[in-house]
């Protein structure tokens, strides 16, 4: 079923409201209020209940955050495990290098491939092709949907082999892994990843041919930046307006604020709205993409800097191609390490970790006591960091689209939210506890 193309006449004062957003992970809502022909308010509300993971972590052993925080999200558990491991290891004064570091990067490639494939094909493409959902799209675009499902499965295969299972992996630990793969098993995945690489390239061209609303914005982009790699596990925090700090300085520059309409905290960078995620990574790290990914990006019509968030579906496809190539490179060079992990002894102190989840930077901080128990924790997921930018996009997009009927405006505003691939259950943090006294 295609979207409705005929709808009511736009009035001067109206409210465009979606009480429960579809095709985003978690429970959220959107309200755009138009008064006297002008946008008065645009809100992206998150009402998924908060889960208090940081409180849950207090009193737990330093070995537990990777497994506990992986439960925050079924789509990006590896991101939580990686940020937790890096933060704990930094508190304990340990660095994981060599083959174990490569295996972590390979695991992250698997998560990027499966998460991006899910979002591109099942959640976002229906917006561009005019379908209410992927299942309405499947009958007309079976090849594309099948390609998306197979790409997702290729990513899941990496997660299952390295992580023990595809959802909420259980094989990651502070210092490395519980068990490392046999080279034969890992090389057994290469054939499917070669197919995935070709399919990802086809996807870049496919998404590049979509129609994009004209909506270039002057964002401040924030991502990790590593001297040699397209960022996943490590790097300095940089922004397009000059920020350049190590992750342990995150809280000196970024702050979180609770707003009444959302259970997720809103982040700002020194008071400014910013964007994290594929667009930010691409814009700040273009030269570190694989040559094939850079070429594909140009062929798909992407500029060196992309500032139209509707084009994020193409950038995600480019990143998926890069992740497939990176995975193949890491598999080709893999030699089984002598030990699956290095020893990590607890020590009193605070550690910081920031890695690139598919949706953007994911920051963790843990304070440990002398015995290695967590006394304090802070987790800032990418969706809460992007929340202000989402609301600003909604406001500006609605303002330039007032001629659209309500149905069409609602459609495009939902699409604008999905540009960020929000993971709402990751972002929920705050309990809105209201006590009224008479």
């Amino acid at each position: 079923m295609k979207k409705a193309e005929v709808c009511g006449r736009p009035g001067k004062s109206r409210t465009v409201k979606v009480n429960a957003l579809a095709r985003v992970e978690g429970e959220g809502a959107m309200v755009v209020k138009i008064r006297e022909g002008k946008v008065a308010e645009a809100k992206f509300g998150i009402f998924e209940p908060p889960r208090f993971f940081e409180a849950l972590l207090r009193g737990r052993s330093y070995t537990e955050p990777p497994d506990i925080t992986a439960r925050i999200c079924g789509i990006c558990p590896v991101a939580y495990q990686m940020s937790a491991c890096h933060a704990i290891e930094s508190a304990c004064g340990v660095r994981v290098e060599g083959v174990l570091r490569d295996l972590r990067r390979l695991l992250y490639c698997g998560e990027w491939i499966q998460s991006h494939a899910l979002h591109i094909f099942m959640l976002h493409a229906p917006d561009f092709l005019g379908y209410q959902s992927s299942f309405h799209m499947a009958a007309d675009y079976p090849d594309a949907v099948n390609r998306g499902l197979r790409l997702k499965k290729a990513g899941n295969s990496l997660l299952a082999l390295l992580g023990g299972r595809a959802v909420h992996p259980v094989n990651v630990r502070v210092g490395g892994f519980y068990r490392v793969p046999d080279p034969k098993d890992l090389k057994g995945l290469a054939g499917e990843l070669e197919w995935a690489r070709d399919a990802a390239l086809e996807t870049v061209h496919w998404t590049g041919a979509f129609d994009f609303p004209s909506f270039d914005q002057g964002y401040e982009f924030v991502s990790l930046c590593h001297p040699e790699e397209y960022p996943m596990n490590e790097g300095r925090l940089v922004s397009s307006k000059g920020l350049d700090v190590s992750p342990d300085r995150y809280e000196a520059h970024f702050s979180e604020q609770h707003l009444p309409h959302s259970t997720a905290l809103h982040s700002t960078l020194e008071g400014r709205v910013y964007v994290t995620g594929p667009l930010a990574r691409y814009n700040l790290n273009f030269e570190k993409l694989s040559p094939a990914a850079r070429t594909a990006a140009r062929e798909a019509g992407l500029d060196r800097v992309v500032s139209n968030p509707f084009r994020s579906i193409v950038v995600r496809s480019v990143e998926m191609l890069h992740a497939c190539e990176e995975a193949l490179r890491l598999i080709a060079g893999y030699e089984m390490p002598e030990v699956p992990c290095i020893s990590v002894s607890p020590r009193e102190g605070t550690g910081y970790g920031c890695t690139e989840a598919p949706r953007g930077i994911l920051y963790h901080r843990y304070t440990l006591d002398r015995a290695g128990f967590v006394t304090d924790a802070n987790i800032v997921p990418p969706t809460s960091q992007n929340q202000k930018a989402v609301e600003r996009d909604l406001f500006r997009f609605a303002a330039q689209s007032l001629g659209m009927c309500d149905e069409s405006l609602k459609w495009h505003c939902e699409q604008a939210i999905r540009n960020y691939d929000p993971c709402i259950s990751c972002a929920t943090h705050h309990l809105d506890l209201r006590i009224e006294r008479e």
Binding site: P49, I75, M122, L123, F135, A138, P142, V145
Partner: protein, 153 residues
């Protein structure tokens, strides 16, 4: 491993009644013949598409919200009539049961026989226990799926 006849419990063990389908699958594993595969899907429901491609008959068990008393059992045949929209919760799943079945039908990979049992839930709050009465619905689902699958062997 997926077999010709496969039963799949769906849900989240940590969100109250959302565990209903998983609990039913746990109980079925103890009483169903080995020729029937019993699986649990707790995360990404697109896994169901692979199961659909390999099995001839699939029985899905999931919590639902139709407005009935918790524990009420509903039976749907989605290949004959579309699932009512919005009754299967999708809050922590990127794709819901109805969407995945729709994709399978669109791609022409739905199994020959597909039965969905919805167990009415009352509370889905993270960390909460089960609603009174839910257990009755889980047991009834176990008995009915057990009988239906044995009739196909």
């Amino acid at each position: 491993m997926t077999r010709r006849v496969t039963v799949v419990g769906i849900g989240n063990r940590w969100r109250g009644d959302d565990a209903a389908g998983l609990l039913a699958a746990d109980r079925l594993r103890r009483r169903i013949p080995e020729a029937v595969s019993v699986q649990s899907v707790e995360g990404d429901l697109s896994e169901l598409l692979e199961i659909f491609q390999e099995a001839e008959a699939v029985f899905l068990l999931d919590a639902c919200v139709c407005g009935a008393r918790p524990g009420t059992l509903h039976r749907f045949l989605p290949l004959e009539r579309s699932l009512p929209s919005g009754i299967f919760r999708t809050s922590t799943h990127a794709l819901g049961v109805a969407e995945v079945i729709g994709v399978a039908i669109g791609l022409g990979i739905a199994p020959d026989r597909l039965v969905v049992y919805g167990i009415e839930g009352g509370t889905f709050t993270p960390g909460s226990g089960l609603s009174p009465g839910l257990d009755v619905g889980v047991d009834l689902a176990v008995r009915m799926v057990s009988a239906e699958t044995q009739a196909l062997l």
